[in-house]
Symmetry: C2
Subunit: 177 residues, 2 copies
DNA sequence: AATTGAATAGTCAGGATTGACTAATTCAAA
DNA sequence: TTTGAATTAGTCAATCCTGACTATTCAATT
């Protein structure tokens, strides 16, 4: 349901055709979702059927390519957007961390190996944090976007701190055994 | 792919039939995933086809109910488990927060309303944190499970701290305008 | 003894998702 | 100016996922 909100929110800002929309989301809203192209098209079509957006065949006949369809928010869509937005802001929907599954079974591996593997995970995490701290990303956000970048930063910092503790814990176990 | 790891890891501990497995995951591993029953059955069947687990029709003919199928790890499955486990531990796979989508469009609402709505979100978050801190949950985890509970705790604390900042930020904006 | 409600055990149709594909256009280098 | 790679634009078949359903057993009430 947050995908519909996302699509409506972007279309609210500016009418777009499907490809453009998907590009925009994958570039500027990559922290929010990794929605795939066919999924985006599918949702757009469904929302058009509901009357939340209209499908406008692009007028300026461009040579001979199949005419692109431009999507535009309707008043009904605007209302839906506000409804979804309020719902989203007012509720907490938990996230799942698939990295936790490995941690759950960490005792299946010798502590030394576990610590080594988690070391690689930490490098990846640190790289993700560096990417968020990179000025290029920083520059990109005013308004709501800035808050999301800050969120991502905090989240990754907490992840790294926890992972350090996990590594220390396992190391400790391995030594005191 | 983390679902297969999860199922294999549980079956490694003890052979089970589908229903039991799903119950176990939804009770004791609820922080890791919210896998649905039909999905669990589907994955079990697929893994049986791959030869990672065997389907054993339950022997002790229980009255006249359709015989339950018990799933049991094979040596191939054990190898796959270790393979997936190593991969899981060594990599970082980012999580998406669908609560962020609302934040991205927060400027569409008057600051006062946004702050009020985020207040509800905070209550929900705080309740989730209280649930994790509840002794019942605490008691449940030794080994890997304890680490996951700690993870959840840290994550929720970071979420609340960030949300407080967001609320302060929006409030501030609304006042200084 | 019959009825109700919950727990156990699993299935299935239908919708959601996506990897892989087509096909035109642009751009750069050989 | 021809080749080849990258970008733009979208589609489709195959797979994945799950809400809703069936059906049995068990326990407690009436």
């Amino acid at each position: 349901m947050y995908r519909e909100l996302l699509l409506l929110g972007v279309l609210r800002h500016k009418q777009m055709h499907g490809y453009e929309l998907h590009e925009f989301i994958n570039r500027d809203l990559a922290f929010c979702t990794d929605i795939k192209k066919p999924t985006a098209y599918h949702l757009l079509q469904k929302m058009a059927e509901q009357g939340w957006i209209t499908e406008i065949p692009e007028t300026n006949a461009p040579t001979n390519r199949p005419p692109r369809t431009v999507y535009q928010l309707t008043p009904v869509g605007e209302a839906k957007f506000l409804d979804y937005l309020r719902q989203n802001l007012a509720t907490y929907s938990p996230s799942y961390f698939n990295g936790d599954v490995g941690i759950a079974f960490i005792e299946a591996l010798p502590p030394e190996e576990a610590v080594e593997l988690l070391g690689y995970r930490k490098v990846a995490l640190q790289k993700a944090l560096d990417a968020v701290n990179h000025p290029h990303v920083e520059a990109h956000g005013k308004g709501g976007m800035w808050l999301i970048i800050e969120h991502q930063k905090r989240h990754l910092q907490a992840e790294i701190a926890w992972l350090d503790d996990v590594i220390a814990h396992i190391s400790n176990q391995s030594h005191s055994q």
